[in-house]
């Protein structure tokens, strides 16, 4: 009798395990199906989001290549404040280098790091700068972000647009308090100073490394 009982118990266990296994297979299949089915759409919207950001710093009319596919992977670069690898996107027009789009970090914001995206034209002119991430004080230092800036007609961060390295003097890259030309809001000088410094360093770095960056092969 006992053998019969054991047999029943083990066959029960096998049956239960088999059912659980079937459920796992079916639902894993469902998941992979959903993943594969939605993958192109999700990737497309991620690209679109990236492009939206790039469009803010570099107008589409200035290049004609598939910018996001023409990227170089950059190792950690202290000059840009980057402690982790990032990507540099190369904008070309009629096959000729037009601009570089890359990330930079201002390490000395009022509340930690301020992440930026910078576009520098090959003639050494800044095409645009935007803040992508920061923890500056809401209502005080957060005007560096276009969305939070009360000056909608000419947001603070757009002051960098059109600044050129070829001018030689770095006077205009500093905030007015430090003898430069960049406006700032009273009571929050640390934040704009950090951004101005990071943009200056980033522009100089990109200008110095431009030829090397455009010469490299496309990152896989």
């Amino acid at each position: 009798m006992s053998t019969a009982k054991e047999f029943t118990a083990s066959s029960m266990a096998l049956r239960t395990a088999a059912i659980l296994f079937i459920f796992v297979i079916v639902f894993t299949g469902l998941l992979s199906g959903a993943y594969l089915w939605t993958k192109p759409a999700i990737e497309a919207s991620a690209t679109e989001e990236k492009m939206k950001l790039v469009d803010e710093v570099l107008p589409r009319g200035e290049y004609d290549n598939a910018l996001l596919d023409d990227a170089v992977t950059l190792p950690a670069t202290p000059e840009l404040g980057l402690s982790e690898p990032s990507k540099v996107y190369r904008a070309r027009r009629n096959g000729q280098p037009a601009a570089l789009v890359f990330e930079a970090v201002a390490p000395d914001g009022y509340a930690g790091k301020i992440r930026l995206i910078v576009a520098l034209r090959t003639d050494g002119q800044v095409a645009g700068v935007r803040v992508t991430q920061h923890k500056e004080t809401p209502g005080l230092g957060d005007y560096i972000e276009v969305k939070k800036d009360k000056n909608k007609a000419r947001p603070w961060i757009t002051q960098f647009t059109g600044l050129a390295l070829t001018d030689g003097s770095d006077k205009e890259w500093k905030v007015k308090k430090d003898g430069g030309l960049i406006d700032y809001h009273a009571g929050a000088t640390v934040t704009p100073r950090a951004v101005a410094k990071a943009v200056t360093k980033a522009a100089r770095w990109a200008d110095a490394h431009r030829d090397a960056l455009f010469g490299e092969g496309v990152a896989q």
Binding site: I19, F23, F27, L31, A41
Partner: protein
Amino acid sequence: MISRDEFKTIAGNGIWKQNTSIVQILGLCPLLAVTTNAVNGVMLSLATIVVMALSGVAIASLRNLIPHEIRIPVFILIVAALVTVVDLLFNANLHELYLVLGIFIPLIVTNCIVLARVEAFAAKNPPLQSTLDGVFMGVGMLWTLALLGGLRELLGNGTLFGGIDMVFPSLHPIQVLPESYPGFLLALLPPGAFILLGCLIAWKNWIEARAAARAQQKPPAPVSAAGCH
């Protein structure tokens, strides 16, 4: 299909009698984290309604195939798979909405209310009823979280519908109390959420006690159909 009485019982249980937040006291972790304003509370509830309706119909349809001994792992498997599929579908097809609701979807996976309703209701009832149960449990959660979130931001910041511009960019939060209102930080922190939740539970119990006292004075009303417990 479903009788009027049955519908009324399911709806009444979800919205009031078995309200997830103030009667079953389930899913407190997302509740405390999210209800710093009414908009977040409503968004989390909307995402939960979708997931609960889907898990209700899925488990009720498969309930006769699931052996009793391993029902919990199978339920978890089904709920987790569904949440992930919902997450992927939202991301792919309703990307704008996903940017708003997306951060709440992973919170639902850990919400015990989904598993609780699946175990207590969907495992024993037909698909249609189970779907409705999921929806109405979510609706009950929706009004409670909206009320709790609204109270917290009103006390904490003096505003209502903060964050509405994330959902509808053309709308702005309403400043209810004067701009000079100093704010009340406790209401915005988790302890404040616990205290206000306690007040909501007390308010509900007070209403029930008053209704019961009134009913005692009158001849007893016929007993309505029992709930799911």
